[in-house]
């Protein structure tokens, strides 16, 4: 931690602890010390660039029992650089739990892949810088550029950068547009959508509620978000509403209402291409596009692990209302399949 620049705008007492008084355990400390020595190329490049910003960013920063790859405590921002293993389902579940805990402590978590950090360092740094500057309370930004003064309301809330994908990853493809109206850049629709693109599905955290087509659209007068439940009795619906409310409130959209509509009924055809890919990567066979009309006799499914189509249905009902249980007859692994609906 010796890297803190002498001209850091915080009193020294701020440097050794997390702001709301959370102390970090000895377990996290030693883990932090260990991983500082084992940085990946991406992490090292990113760190070299980030420390030059002089924004009081720490690397391998312990928060509670967790260790953030990078953290800016004053902006309540955590930056994670993920290796390939973060795409594994088990790992993603742990990451989701960790992110949820950090969020509950007021931190925003943004993830980049190791590859992005290594090959597109400048872009990543620029995004992080923008997020930090937007998030800092204007007063404490004394000496920083005036952009901070415009605050959260006038500009898109932080993280709303146009090409920030659902989890903060830089994405080459533009996010799928919401169903109804787009009102031009910076309109309510765009700003709200960029917040919603960060809300994961509580049951399948690999995809966002926007990927799933749960968001029907954003409307003005009165400002409201229309959402639709996937299944009539899906218990996640309540959780999803709560998560949207929280995300909107935190981003300064307290005035935006959430309205549930059930007609026209949700269909798996509304899952975006990006969402389908994420499901597959997560180990869930996505529903084929356009299959909703002949939903019941879902004949084939591709094994998300070995891509074999030599598979069979074990049960039409799975761990959540939206999934069926299948088994691959080649690699013999069971897998979830999103029901066509």
């Amino acid at each position: 931690m010796g890297e803190s620049p002498a001209d850091a705008p915080f009193p020294p007492s701020k440097r050794k602890r997390v702001e709301d008084g959370d102390t970090y355990g000895a377990r996290a400390l030693t883990a932090a010390q260990r991983s500082r020595k084992n940085q990946t190329v991406g992490e090292r490049k990113l760190w070299e660039a980030l420390r030059k910003l002089k924004l009081n960013i720490r690397r391998q920063a312990p928060i509670g029992d967790y260790v953030a790859d990078f953290a800016c405590h004053s902006a309540r921002l955590v930056v994670e650089v993920d290796g390939y293993y973060h795409t594994l389902p088990a790992r993603q579940l742990r990451d989701a739990a960790r992110d949820a805990w950090l969020r509950s402590k007021g931190y925003r978590v943004v993830r980049f892949t190791d590859r992005e950090a290594e090959l597109r360092t400048d872009e990543v740094v620029e995004k992080i810088e923008r997020m930090i500057l937007r998030a800092l309370p204007p007063r404490r930004g004394k000496g920083w550029d005036g952009g901070v003064e415009t605050g959260v309301q006038a500009e898109p809330p932080f993280g709303a950068g146009a090409d920030l994908g659902s989890s903060g990853h830089l994405s080459d493809t533009p996010p799928t547009p919401a169903h109804p109206p787009s009102r031009g850049k910076g309109g309510l629709n765009d700003r709200v959508m960029s917040v919603l693109r960060d809300v994961p599905d509580p049951e399948i955290p690999a995809v966002t509620i926007v990927d799933l087509g749960i968001i029907r659209g954003v409307y003005e007068n009165p400002p409201r978000v229309l959402i639709t439940p996937t299944y009539t009795g899906c218990p996640a619906t309540i959780a999803i509403q709560g998560m949207i409310r929280k995300a909107l409130d935190e981003a300064g959209f307290k005035q935006v209402d959430i309205v549930t509509v059930i007609d026209p009924a949700w269909t798996t055809d509304w899952i975006s291409e990006e969402g389908r890919e994420k499901l597959r990567a997560y180990g869930i066979a996505p529903p084929p596009k356009g299959a909703a009309s002949h939903s019941l006799k879902a004949d084939t499914a591709e094994c998300p692990r070995c891509a074999s189509t030599h598979t069979e249905e074990i049960s039409r009902f799975g761990s959540t209302p939206c999934k069926a249980q299948w088994r691959c007859l080649d690699c013999l692994e069971p897998f979830d399949r999103f029901k066509c609906h």
């Binding site: 059930i262 007609d263 039409r316």
Partner: protein
Amino acid sequence: MSTPAFETALRLGDDALILGQRLGEWCGHAPTLEIDLALANLGLDLIGQAQHFLGYAGELEGAGRDADRLAFHRDVLDFRNCLLVEQPNGDFAQTIARQFLFSTWQELLFGELAGSRDESIAGVAKKAVKEVAYHASFASDWVVRLGDGTEESRSRMVDGLGWMWRFTGELFGEDRKAGDRGFGIDLAALRPAWDARIDSVLAEAGLDRPAPHRPTGGGRDGHHSEHLGHLLAQMQFLQRTYPDAVW
């Protein structure tokens, strides 16, 4: 107070609520894990329907009762579900018989209600009919497996259908005087399509259609079997003991 629209929403909601509760009783007790999950899934769909229909009923009534209030603060006489759904689970074959007869009917009913002039009812029906198609198909598959299975499974399936059959007349309003204002559609008109589907599954299962039975009914008027009281005692226990307790 009791308008036809309110009555319709209440009947639809109560059917779904009571059968959902019955299916929930299987949770942790089903013959295999897959069936356990399947029955719980069905129950969940039904409770979702109940939430929508009862919520709408409460709106129509305008007396400040929401879906939870209607579900947990009414007594037997005020429930409007059909007798079929309140029948005890019995063995697995009996549960399947009940589901088969009910879901086949509910799928046809929702198909019809999807075109209802009442947009709230139509909206739920349009959404739920896709789920109910899964229920009907699940139950039909099991009727065939049990009916066309061993001596034991076959005789249980026959018994299950034999018991449940007497409650099917009520689904089509056959137990009532003409001129019932309830669902806003001609229930009797659903019968031919229902008969055709039931017969084709029974044929595949190698089972005979149970002998005709004088329809047993009254559920739509609040005349229920003893079973409903026991079910409510369990379902409503918390709200009866700690009124208005919230999660």
